[in-house]
């Protein structure tokens, strides 16, 4: 981590309004501030409706905001860019393409030749343990394997910033634990900065350097919790009393938001 460099992601006083069908303007995000340093792994967690996925889409450049500024690697965001890649909750694989072509899709959009993109995609399929499935179709793979393809596709474009939108939430609990460890393995061999959206507290704590907690109505950052667990994190980490303590702290904050929400909800 280079302290002098600009952050990988800098979100400053960002607000977003949604206009409902009857013309009313509702504040969806209220002056959100967020920074992900270079090489850092940051998770956002919060109740549904807190705008965490909205936040990720704005950083990804596929959704506009109304006030404030967002920059990635020091440059203002004005759309999708080659320094960012996203891993999606629904995997978003193309069912008519082979695993190899899916992994190479981002490179194809960047205009790389077939030989070059296939070579890179093969490399990354190897990294995520799917080298033997290059010619299979997504429909033949389990959810966990499909998301490995999604990760390979994102990594193939050599991004600086990896945006992950609840990537493991559609995957069974056991496989999810394995994927978390694999993700950290891959990340530790790169200088990637990661912004990770989740609703699983143990996942946020296990993966992250910092956990950002967001509240709803309107979406805002309520807490940032530093996760001082040593790296590399392994299965032992999950039994570390400190891990349990930090997870409990995240839950305390979240539970506060949930009760606030219930008390403040219009009846």
């Amino acid at each position: 981590m280079n302290a002098n460099a600009t952050p990988a992601i800098a979100v400053q006083d960002v607000s977003k309004f949604f206009v409902s069908a009857d013309g009313r303007r509702t504040r969806a995000l209220d002056k959100v501030n967020l920074a992900v340093e270079r090489g850092e792994f940051v998770s956002i967690i919060g109740p549904s409706g807190c705008g965490k996925t909205t936040m990720l889409k704005m950083v990804g450049g596929i959704l506009d905001w109304d006030e404030g500024s967002i920059s990635v690697m020091g440059a203002p965001v004005s759309g999708p860019g080659p320094e960012r890649a996203t891993v999606f909750q629904s995997f978003a694989l193309l069912p008519w393409m082979t695993v190899l072509d899916n992994a190479a899709f981002g490179l194809k959009m960047r205009g790389e030749t077939k030989a070059a993109r296939h070579a890179k995609a093969r490399n990354l399929l190897e990294t995520v343990g799917l080298a033997d499935f290059a010619n299979a179709y997504p429909g033949e793979l389990s959810g966990g394997m499909q998301q490995r393809v999604g990760l390979a596709r994102a990594l193939a474009v050599s991004p600086n910033v990896l945006l992950m939108d609840e990537p493991f939430s559609a995957i069974d609990a056991q496989t999810r634990l394995i994927l978390q460890t694999e993700l950290l393995d891959v990340w530790s061999q790169t200088d990637l900065s990661v912004l990770f959206i989740t609703h699983a507290m143990d996942e946020a704590v296990f993966l992250s350097d910092r956990v950002v907690i967001m509240g709803a109505r309107p979406g805002h950052v309520t807490d940032v919790i530093d996760i001082d667990l040593p790296r590399p994190r392994t299965e032992e980490t999950r039994r570390d009393p400190r891990f349990v303590e930090l997870t409990a702290r995240v839950w305390d904050r979240l539970r506060g938001l949930m009760t606030d929400e219930r008390a403040g909800a219009p009846s």
Binding site: K57, G60, G61, I62, P80, G81, P82, R84, A85, T86, F88, S90, A92, L94, P95, W96, F105, G106, K108, M109, R110, Y137, G139, E140, V157
Partner: protein, 255 residues
């Protein structure tokens, strides 16, 4: 190949063969017993079919009709798909053209044949126009649905990797919509054949529809039924072939 055999097997199953045999028996006896001028026995119809087929009387109209059908369908597919894609992608095109497509889909197109005859005369252009009128709207409707019904998650994914509007059309919307395009093709072929025969019967001097008119006018019932049989088989074979093609394409690309 196994797909072809399975497809053929659907038609050779016992319940279908039994109902086919019963229809044939009822037809044969009804045609023999009653002295009905309008219903010759099946054996006479089949004999007429074999006679017409081997004499070569059917060959020229069959080829002639097929060329007109394929010409009309090609135009329908090309123009209908282009219009449908525009409607599916653009709100303005949808508002401007959508109502015509909806009207054309339900309107009885046969009413236009006399108009086509006035415009194009008694010639092949008239029945090509009829084929187009019958098939183009269903092709356009399905093309619009094809590009409109794409999974939003796939669109978002492509955009996040920097794909623009046209790239997304070519890489995501068109391949994702393939089942709808194929459904449009299948319905377009079926309707196009209806249009073809409708047009030819009204024009009265060309193709298989012309034979219907010719034998019908002189009450040559066995030959009339033989031509009708040919038309039914012709339509069934076309639609079956397109259905099969669609299945092969779809299973090839998503195991």
């Amino acid at each position: 190949m196994s797909g072809l055999l399975r497809q053929a097997g659907q038609w050779l199953n016992p319940p279908f063969l039994i109902s086919l045999a019963m229809l044939a028996i009822v037809w044969e006896f009804a045609g023999r017993s009653a002295d009905i001028l309008t219903l010759p026995p099946l054996s006479a119809v089949l004999a007429a079919f074999v006679r017409l087929w081997s004499s070569g009387v059917l060959t020229a109209p069959l080829l002639d009709s097929t060329i007109a059908l394929l010409t009309g369908l090609a135009i329908s597919l090309f123009v209908g798909s282009a219009v449908g894609i525009a409607i599916g992608l653009s709100r303005v095109a949808d508002v401007a053209l959508g109502p015509f497509i909806k009207a054309g889909l339900s309107a009885p197109m046969i009413a236009f044949v006399p108009v086509f005859m006035m415009i194009f005369g008694i010639g092949s252009e008239t029945r090509i126009a009829t084929v187009i009128a019958f098939s183009i709207f269903v092709v356009a409707t399905n093309a619009a649905t094809a590009v409109r019904s794409t999974d939003p998650a796939l669109l978002e994914m492509a955009r996040s990797f920097g794909a623009g509007r046209w790239r997304i059309l070519g890489e995501i919307r068109l391949p994702a919509g393939a089942p709808y395009f194929l459904a449009g093709l299948r319905l377009g072929v079926a309707r196009g054949i209806k249009g073809l025969i409708n047009g030819e019967v009204l024009i009265a001097i060309m193709g298989m529809g012309g034979l219907v008119k010719k034998y019908g006018t002189v009450f040559s019932m066995d030959q009339l039924y033989a031509v009708i049989l040919l038309i039914v088989l012709y339509a069934a074979i076309w639609v079956g072939a397109v259905t099969l093609l669609g299945r092969l394409v779809l299973t090839e690309r998503r195991k």
